[in-house]
C-alpha cells in the first residue's frame, strides 16, 4: 500500500498552495539535504512533467529550496526560501526538462560542495507524499517517512549478514530492505528502513565493517 497512515490523507499541515507541488517538493528537498548532511554550496534542480510546466505557479521552486534549507512543510520561511538561500551563499540553478518521466511530478536534485556531491531523483505522488527513486545512479524506493540507513558497500557475500548482525545486536527491527548494485562485484547500495531512530554508535559500528564504504542515516 502506497499510503499507510490516516495522516497521509488528513495532512500534512503545510504552507499552500499545493500538497504535491509545494509540500511534496519541500520534502524531496529536505531528504536531499538530509542525505548530503550539511549545507551545500550549490543546488542544481531539474523539473520534469507537471513540475516543469507549473513550478512557478505552485511555489515548487521556493518549496524545494526551502527543503534544501532544512525547512519542514509548515515552516513559513518557505515563502522566502530563495532569498534565504542567497543569504547563505547557496548557488541555486533550476532547469525545466522536456524529457518524459515515469511520474509527472519528478525532480532531480544535485547538491554539492568542495568535499562531495550527491544526486537524487524524487517524485511527489500526491497529498504531500514522496518517494526517492534514484540516488547517485542507484534505483531505490524511499518514502522518507521512516528512519532509514543507506549503506554503500562492496558487492560481496556476507555484506547483508554483517549489517543485519549489528542491527540485531542493537535490537533494531528492519521494516523494509532493498539491495541494488550497478554491476556484479562492484559498488552496491543497501537501503534499510527501520522502525525506530538509530544512534550514531550503530552507524559507526556498521561503518567499521570491512565491506562497508559509507553509511548515511536519515532519521524521522
Amino acid at each position: 500500500m502506497k499510503y499507510k497512515s490516516v495522516f497521509d490523507i488528513i495532512g500534512p499541515v503545510m504552507i499552500g498552495p499545493s500538497s504535491s507541488h509545494t509540500a511534496g517538493a519541500a520534502r524531496i528537498g529536505r531528504v536531499a539535504r538530509d542525505l548530503f548532511g550539511r549545507k551545500p554550496d550549490y543546488a542544481h534542480i531539474s523539473f520534469y512533467g507537471s513540475f516543469a510546466k507549473t513550478y512557478r505557479g505552485h511555489g515548487t521552486d521556493v518549496a524545494i529550496v526551502g527543503g534544501i534549507l532544512d525547512f519542514d512543510t509548515f515552516d513559513t520561511r518557505i515563502v522566502d526560501a530563495l532569498s534565504l538561500a542567497k543569504e547563505q551563499n547557496i548557488e541555486i540553478k533550476m532547469t525545466e526538462e522536456d524529457a518524459i518521466t515515469d511520474h509527472p511530478n519528478t525532480a532531480r536534485i544535485v547538491l554539492g560542495d568542495e568535499h562531495g556531491q550527491i544526486e537524487l531523483v524524487g517524485i511527489s505522488i500526491g497529498g504531500g507524499k514522496i518517494e526517492i527513486t534514484e540516488l547517485n545512479g542507484f534505483d531505490l524506493q524511499l518514502s522518507g517517512e521512516h528512519p532509514a540507513l543507506l549503506i554503500v558497500h562492496n558487492d560481496r557475500y556476507g555484506a547483508i549478514a554483517g549489517v543485519a548482525n549489528v542491527l540485531a545486536k542493537h535490537q533494531i527491527n528492519i521494516g523494509h530492505m532493498r539491495v541494488s548494485r550497478k554491476e556484479k562485484g562492484q559498488e552496491a547500495l543497501m537501503i534499510i528502513e527501520v522502525d525506530q531512530n538509530v544512534h550514531q554508535v550503530l552507524v559507526e559500528e556498521i561503518e567499521a565493517l570491512p565491506i562497508v564504504q559509507q553509511v548515511v542515516k536519515i532519521n524521522e
Binding site: 499510503y3 490516516v6 488528513i10 499541515v13 498552495p17 500538497s19 507549473t54 511520474h103 500526491g126
Partner: protein, 295 residues
Amino acid sequence: MFRNVAELVELAEAKNCKISDIMIEQEMEITGRTKDEIISQMDRNLKVMEEAVERGITQDVKSHSGLTGGDALLLQNYMKSGKSLSGEFMLDAVSKAIATNEVNAAMGTICATPTAGSAGVVPGVLFALKEKLNPTREQMVAFLFASGAFGFVVANNASISGAAGGCQAEVGSATGMAAAAVVELAGGTPSQSAEAMAIALKNMLGLVCDPVAGLVEVPCVKRNAMGASNAIVAADMALAGIKSRIPCDEVIDAMYKIGQTMPTALKETAQGGLAATPTARELEAKIFGIALNKK
C-alpha cells in the same frame, strides 16, 4: 486492515462501531502509537483547519497573483442578508470551503484533506455542521478520521493526485470523503456512509485539473465550494435511504481508470481546459510578466 470500502463497512458493522473507530484502530496497529497520541495529532490538524476557516471568513485574504481572495467574506455577508436561496447552512459550508482555499492560495497554513488543492471541502462542511449540530470536539475529530478512512481507500486503490488523475482525484475524493463523514456525524450507518461517498464521487467523475496559469486558484477555489455543497446533498440522499446502483468501490475504480485515460493536457499541466482559454492565457502572461507570443 481494510483494503476497500466494502471491507471497511463490513469491519465497522461486525464490530458494531463507527468507521472512525476502525480508522483509529488501524492507525494504532500500523504505527504502534497510542490512541491518545493519534487523537491529539488529529486534534492539532483540526485546529489548523479552524484557524484557516476563521482567517478566510473574517479577513480579505488575497493571493499573490490577485486571482483569488475575498469571496468567502462576500458569501458570509450575503448570508446575513437573509435572502439566500440555497439556505444558510449550505452557504456556510460553501463559504468555509472557499475560506480554506483562499488561505491556501495565499500561501497560508492549511491541512491537506487529502491534498492542498482540495483542502476546503472537508473542513468547510465540518465547520458548517459545527454550527448546525453542535458536535463535541471529539465528534469533530471523529469526522476527520471517518473522512480519512474513505480517503485512505481512494489513495491506495486509485489516486488523490491531480497530476495523475485530474481534479476528480482531488476535489472528487474530498467530496466523497466529506459526504461519508457527514453521514456518520449525523447518525447514519457505515453502509449509508459508503452510499454517500459513491453518490458524491459519481458526480465528480471526469473532472479535469486545468489550473489557470498553473496556480491552485482558478478554478480550484470554486470547485471546492461546489464540492462542499455536493457532499451535503449526497449525504442527505444517503440518509434518506437512497442507494448508489454502482457500489462505492467500483465508482472509485472507475475514477482511477478515467484518470488513466485522461489526456496529460488536462492533468495539472496548465495546457488544456480552462487554463487554455484566451482569458486564462492573458492572465498567465500578466502574472508572470511574459509576452503572449512567447507562449
